[in-house]
């Protein structure tokens, strides 16, 4: 499996995507403190969950125009190229994938069939052959029926090198070993219509046959590459501008860098859709405003902006104005799928006591304050984020959030280790690294700062023989299971010369053995297995200091109803949203 990305940090692409399955249980005392959540997210084959129409939202009414204010235009809307959460939530209004996430704002998140009648049938119970049956009555914007051939075509075209920006799990699983499109480059220029391992015995059935077991397929099938594209409607590079609609909305106009306007697809039948309520008559996504402008406008809540929201985080400067009555109830906040850790290069820092001392030493509060405080995240003690399926809070060290100097002194035993702290050279990351340096120096370490050009930060620290001891990194997965976190980031067998995701370079046979054991457990037991391994790694090896869980902090106008944070995407969901009269 290819690694999911570390983003949100560097370069110009602030692309955070993911499907994460967390269901915060409503805690009577804490009221949504993610540390107290336990995850119950799962793949549901229940008929009740998989049947349309979506359950009506109390008090919701059809009609109105919802505005989403965004900083910059989407890069891609073409389902083959769509790999960013804001694009996926928007794309999800226009086209439907085989599977989708059903959420209602109460914390219950289920993976269910979207185009498919259920999340996929594991034909031989070995996770190698998967079959999906399409719902009856699903139609495109021109009234023609959606067929499994169109789904197959959509997957086929995602192999084209010209459309290579999307997620490629299914593609890689169909052609394992080497690059996913080395052997098959899509249906263009005389290529085969369908990749190997994809069959469509009839118009409503699609079957995948993989050489290896892939029990995560239902999750991979929720990514937009499984959305149907009729070959006749494929405008190739220009499909980005106007994907052909199979969902509740179709593209009315799309002026790049200015606005995308969606209007109803009259041929969408709510009875076929278990996920979407599609209350607004129109959705308008506007581009080009600065983060602060968006926040100011939503705080001001002028008449024109009352039916608006944004997926852009409120910047620190505007945060104080979001705590007053009239605004605070319009804040939508919560954790995303990213956990930020301070990696300790275990090849260089081999003394476990020093690594433990670091875990007692780091002032997580200071590290967070440097980037915006509470709105930016909350202190972490685990490797996986609270949005991960089966997540449970644990804390091996039980240190105060600002550190425990007594413990540090005790563990260091009179030594003063000299460590190199590498950081990305953006303003924010430099501030943060400076806070960490000051904190660690106070705690009894000698810290040397090493700034790295932001665009090559992960290349640098991803080199096995890198000359740094400490560096901060964030990891988010494309769906909410431990299998997308622990193996790529902590299994020593994944370590290569360059481009590593295992940035602590932890290489322990006992961890690898556990990874193999958990992978062979029945699906239902895997979540608990990954969580146990998470704790074991921290308790026995302390290869990183878990710093903080990334958070999002968004605003919406006073006429927006049922705005809640999607656990699957980490931003406000649009599926059940409505405009108040």
């Amino acid at each position: 499996m290819r690694a999911r990305t570390r983003t949100l940090t560097t370069g110009v692409l602030a692309a955070a995507l993911v499907a994460a399955g967390c269901s915060p249980t409503t805690d009577s005392g804490g009221g949504g403190d993610e540390k107290t959540k336990t995850q119950t997210g799962s793949v549901s084959y229940e008929a009740a969950d998989n049947q349309g129409p979506a359950k009506a939202v109390d008090g919701a009414a059809r009609g109105g125009t919802l505005t989403v204010m965004q900083n910059s235009d989407f890069e891609h809307l073409d389902p083959a190229r769509n790999y960013v959460n804001v694009q996926q939530v928007t794309g999800g209004l226009i086209y439907r994938a085989l599977n989708g996430y059903k959420e209602d704002g109460t914390g219950k998140l289920l993976l269910v069939g979207d185009l498919a009648t259920n999340p996929g049938k594991d034909v031989n119970k070995d996770c190698k052959v998967w079959e999906f049956t399409l719902r009856e009555g699903v139609k495109y914007e021109d009234g023609s029926p959606v067929t499994s051939k169109d789904v197959a075509y959509g997957i086929a075209r995602s192999f084209a090198s010209n459309l290579n920006e999307g997620p490629h799990y299914i593609q890689q699983w169909l052609y394992p070993g080497g690059a996913y499109n080395a052997k098959y480059q899509g249906p263009y220029d005389g290529g085969k219509a369908v990749p190997d391992g994809v069959e469509t015995p009839d118009d409503r059935t699609i079957r995948f046959t993989f050489p290896e077991a892939h029990c995560d397929l239902p999750y991979a099938a929720a990514l937009p590459t499984s959305a149907p594209v009729p070959a006749a409607k494929d405008t190739r590079a220009n499909y980005d501008l106007r994907p052909f609609s199979s969902g509740p909305y179709k593209v009315k106009s799309y002026q790049r860098d200015v606005a995308l306007e969606l209007e109803r697809n009259p041929n969408w039948d709510p009875a076929t859709d278990p996920i979407r309520n599609a209350y607004p008559d129109a959705i308008r996504v506007t581009f080009g405003l600065e983060q602060a402008q968006i926040a100011e406008r939503l705080v001001a809540d002028a008449a024109a902006d009352q039916a608006a929201l944004s997926w852009t985080d409120v910047p620190p400067a505007v945060l104080p104005r979001t705590t007053t009555a009239g605004v605070v109830e319009r804040v939508v906040k919560g954790p995303t799928q990213y956990t930020w850790v301070l990696d300790i290069n275990t090849q260089r820092v081999t003394d476990l006591n020093v690594r433990k001392a670091l875990n007692y030493a780091v002032d997580k509060d200071a590290a967070l304050k440097a980037i915006g405080g509470q709105a930016a995240g909350s202190p972490a003690t685990t490797l996986m984020s609270p949005t991960t399926s089966g997540w449970k809070k644990y804390d091996v060290f039980n240190a105060p959030v600002t550190g425990d100097k007594t413990k540090v002194t005790e563990l260091l035993g009179g030594k003063r280790p000299k460590l190199v702290l590498a950081h990305s050279n953006t303003e924010l990351r430099t501030q943060q690294a400076e806070a960490i340096r000051k904190n660690l120096t106070d705690m009894g370490f000698d810290i040397v700062m090493k700034p790295i050009e932001s665009s090559s930060y992960y290349d640098e620290v991803g080199r096995k023989d890198n000359p740094y001891d400490l560096y901060l990194s964030g990891w988010g997965s494309d769906w909410p299971t431990g299998s997308t976190i622990i193996p790529p980031v902590y299994d020593g067998r994944e370590i290569v010369a360059e481009g590593n995701n295992n940035l602590s370079y932890l290489n322990e046979p006992s961890v690898s053995a556990e990874v193999d054991r958990i992978r062979n457990l029945p699906a239902a037991e895997q979540d608990a297995g990954w969580m146990a391994l998470d704790e074991k790694i921290m308790r026995e090896y302390a290869p990183v200091v878990p710093c903080y869980y990334d958070a999002t902090y968004e605003l919406h106008g006073s006429k927006v109803g049922n705005a809640f944070l999607s656990d699957a995407f980490g931003i406000i969901s649009l599926n059940g949203i409505y405009v108040k009269k």
Partner: protein
């Protein structure tokens, strides 16, 4: 004059070639690859190579430049097979970021910047010059001192400061004006004007400060000229002396500066566009640079250069029209 313009245009052509070469060179001197930026998440080396090929940046530099030049004059073809895209002349290529034709981006962005600049310029010229002239004529009075004070404040303020204050006072706090937006003039002149009022006011006030000071100084200088005394000696009224004789002479250097100012601004008013969330050329340029979006960078940089060059020629011609002593050669 015809020969003058032709010759200046030839020089301008050479200038543009040099600018395009320098931009090209600088772009490739940057260590990051645009392919890495465009490729998105989870890019493998193979993915990046594919993107590089698609964008054409795997080619040797001279060939890329030749392709760029060819595109402008005769058009060019991008991609091959099913992904073939014919880009007719004048072809400035496609945005790396979203495959939009660059000519389309320009066509979309230019009217925004034009509207901001022309509206603002009318305001700052009318306001600035009249304030400066009246100040000069009432030198030393309360009006003059107040005007100098205000213009000093204006000249020392920045767009991002003053603009944000206006935005806060007129939009966020009171809602007197809607948040700025661009509606094409041809579509709805009323909304066009209302949507651009804030940037106009901001640019108008800040730049008028400069022009007021400039025209005051110019006017004072002109008023001490012999020919103004001659005009008075003829028995002309004060108004005739000021408007017909002094103003015309005082305005000449202002025309030069205004022409160059407007020419420069047309290349993009990035800060103004950013503060008011308007999608003009300036924002397009800065974003393109951030995204290493070469075709857009090339087009916007060259366009900005064209505006400056043309503004220079226009100013020179205007100068010759105003001042009969100037011979264009």
């Amino acid at each position: 004059m015809f020969r003058f313009v032709v010759r200046r245009l030839l020089v301008a052509g050479v200038t543009l070639v040099v600018i395009s070469l320098v931009t090209f060179g600088l772009f490739f001197a940057v260590p990051s690859s645009p392919a890495k930026v465009m490729c998105g998440k989870n890019c493998t080396a193979a993915d990046i190579a594919q993107v590089e090929q698609r964008l054409g940046i795997d080619q040797p530099l001279p060939r890329q430049y030749a392709g760029f030049v060819k595109g402008i004059f005769v058009g060019r073809t991008y991609g091959s097979g099913d992904f073939r895209q014919d880009c007719p002349a004048p072809c400035l290529g496609y945005s790396f970021r979203n495959n939009q034709p660059v000519t389309e981006i320009i066509a979309q962005r230019l009217p925004v910047t034009f509207s901001i600049v022309f509206g603002g310029a009318v305001l700052w010229l009318v306001l600035g010059i009249s304030l400066g002239m009246v100040s000069a004529l009432r030198r030393g009075t309360v009006f003059d001192r107040t005007a100098i004070g205000i213009t000093l404040a204006g000249a020392s303020m920045q767009v991002y400061f003053f603009g944000l204050i206006l935005l806060y006072l007129l939009v966020y706090a009171t809602g007197l004006l809607p948040f700025p937006s661009y509606t094409p003039l041809t579509e709805n002149p009323g909304r066009w004007a209302v949507g651009l009022l804030l940037p106009w006011m901001t640019l108008g006030f800040l730049n008028s400060a400069l022009y007021a000071r400039l025209s005051r100084a110019q006017m004072l200088e002109t008023l001490s000229e012999d020919f103004v005394r001659t005009a008075r000696a003829k028995g002309l009224s004060a108004r005739q002396v000021h408007t017909r004789h002094a103003l015309r002479a005082a305005i000449t250097p202002i025309v030069t500066i205004a022409g160059l100012d407007i020419g420069t601004s047309l290349g993009g008013t990035f800060i103004t566009e950013t503060i008011f969330g308007l999608q003009g050329l300036g924002k397009a340029t800065v974003e393109a640079v951030q995204f290493l979006n070469l075709p857009v960078v090339m087009a916007t940089v060259l366009l900005a250069a064209v505006f400056i060059v043309v503004a220079n020629i226009v100013v020179d011609v205007l100068y010759a029209v105003i001042d009969p002593r100037v011979r264009l050669s």
